[in-house]
Symmetry: C2
Subunit: 354 residues, 2 copies
């Protein structure tokens, strides 16, 4: 379906109803899928550098949990919170319908920040990337070739400064980012172990992503013991996606001059008061470098990342597991599913396959 | 007093009696000052590269607390624990009496790892530095010109990558390291605030070390509020010496791309179970780089450090406050005093002024 100037079109939207109370698990009903009208004549007005897009694939990401909370500015991510009454925003893949911006033309495919709706008017399209390579599944640009991929690449190679033969532990290892960190680390020559929350996910880690070892953290009575079993000599690199008890156990098992890339702490996002971390002294005793990072600070590495990863995908050296849900109307369910860890692999919502 | 080969000399020693139970405050009686005999003929035997020294000044340092505990290897500092029945070991300034090592000659002054005793036979003297500049107080080599000084220098300049005009917070700011970090940061052009545990120390910070502001953490009901008062725009750099509740409050007040140099967590060393840190998510949200470091990894920077600091001392740009206790027999009391924060400035024990 194309767009015509002057036309008013129905625009299905996933609206953020209101802030979720800290400590309460988000429900589908915290969002509402409704329909509004978008007037295309006004969409890209004269002199504006806006771009009107048709959204195709939307990305469900753990950081979105934080944006559902009414938090003091000091505890917000720098993207701020969602706005009650307006559509959820997030990363997605979209087709340009009209463009007031010199970088984008009608028909271009892009990925970047967009709305959870059928059509979005993007006011800052320069924050989006134009998609040049379409000989891979387009949905990959919500994950493997989008923020998750760049996050895994930057977090592992730039933040952790890995050396061949080092030991690498990844939590939430079958997720959008974790599965890639593990594959990058294996290709680089590291010993890689991952944790995940179901037998199905552990099987994926061992058999599909070729990790050296993996365990189901829900079945381990003692995480410290599980880590000592997998890493008798300790951990050089920890790629942190979960926080809480796992981080505390990892801190006891870091090797001298270990590195922790702090990417997420999803186990903590639904707690009113985050769990206390008791073993931070390890950071000094070993010593350990623990670095939080935002992938947005590393967007300049995206071309280099693509250059590395595209051939690896085509040669079958990197595989990617997605959990695809059809239809914007199921978007809220997909997001809630991600927060509860019921997804297997990268959680994607299909708005339209065009 | 010189040494004579063939002579047997009395050697007063501060012996480590036994491990201190985790969570129990160390007492003077955990150490014992006794006398043994050192036979100088055998001290530096033929073919050995050992060095016999007369100890002059001993350094009391927070990391020594950890060495008094019987801990699993994973929780020990890489120096290991003290050995029950043997003298405490630590950094000190000493005079070489006999040398089997080509780098050191009789009469040289050195600083480095030595024993808490009048005379020590050092088996690895190459880990010590020869003192070349003696136109400053010799005791400075236990602090300002020793490990504390290099720690402050490395922690601030190498770990924190400061920029002029940035805001710097230092805990335990009147201590051996803190007072220097603050002065380095002021000379560099930063806005500097420190916390300490008494009015006397806060006065030192403001008046002697010329910090921009300082507060007594024991008089603040709400550390978060105290930090917001001192840093309405947030903290760029935190030099961490205490851990616990202070770290948790600081995490809420870090600015985007803040840096934390984790040097010590002295508030936690006497607790059976360290306090939980609840606000680590800030490390991702801001994001923040939190780096533990061991000064031993940066010894190669010592000449550069001396070159920078010696002129600053001579020009009166850097001052240093020491808390000097006379006599090895008072060594155990000095160490306990440090752990309880009753010292004001760098805690030094004088064994002999020669």
């Amino acid at each position: 379906m194309g767009s015509k100037n002057g036309e008013a079109m129905r625009n299905k939207q996933a609206i953020f109803r209101d802030f979720v109370t800290n400590g309460v698990f988000p429900k589908e009903s915290d969002m509402e899928v409704t329909e509004s009208i978008i007037e295309l004549t006004r969409a890209v007005s004269e002199g504006s550098k806006g771009v009107l897009v048709k959204n195709l694939y939307l990305s469900c990401d753990p950081y979105m949990r934080n944006r559902m909370l009414k938090l003091p500015a000091s505890a917000q991510s720098y993207l701020g919170t969602f706005q009650p009454g307006l559509p959820i925003t997030g990363l997605g893949v979209a087709r340009v319908l009209e463009s007031g911006h010199p970088n984008f033309a009608k028909g271009d495919l892009i990925w970047g920040m967009t709305g959870w709706e059928e059509y979005s008017l993007l006011h800052e399209p320069e924050t989006c990337f134009k998609i040049e390579h379409t000989d891979v599944p387009l949905a990959y640009y919500t994950g493997l070739l989008g923020m998750a991929g760049l996050t895994a690449y930057v977090g592992f190679f730039e933040i952790c400064s890995p050396k061949k033969g080092e030991t690498v532990f990844i939590s939430a290892a079958s997720g959008a980012v974790g599965q890639l960190v593990g594959q990058f680390a294996k290709l680089f020559g590291c010993y890689v172990v991952g944790s995940a929350g179901s037998k199905e996910k552990v099987d994926l880690l061992k058999n599909k992503f070729r990790f050296d070892d993996a365990f189901n953290y829900k079945e381990e009575l003692d995480l410290d013991a599980a880590l000592k079993r997998c890493f008798p000599e300790g951990i050089d690199i920890y790629f942190e996606n979960v926080g809480g008890k796992m981080l505390d156990a990892v801190l006891l098992n870091m090797k001298l001059h270990g590195r922790i890339a702090a990417c997420g702490m999803i186990s903590q996002y639904n707690l009113e008061q985050p769990e206390g971390i008791h073993n931070l002294l390890s950071i000094i005793l070993k010593p350990v470098r623990m670095v939080g990072f935002l992938v947005f600070d590393y967007y300049h590495l995206y071309p280099k990342f693509l250059e590395t990863v595209l051939p690896q995908i085509k040669e079958g050296k990197i595989v990617y597991v997605e959990d695809i849900i059809e239809g914007l109307k199921n978007g809220p369910a997909a997001l809630v599913r991600l927060f509860s860890g019921r997804n297997v692999g990268k959680q994607v919502v299909v708005v339209s396959r065009e």
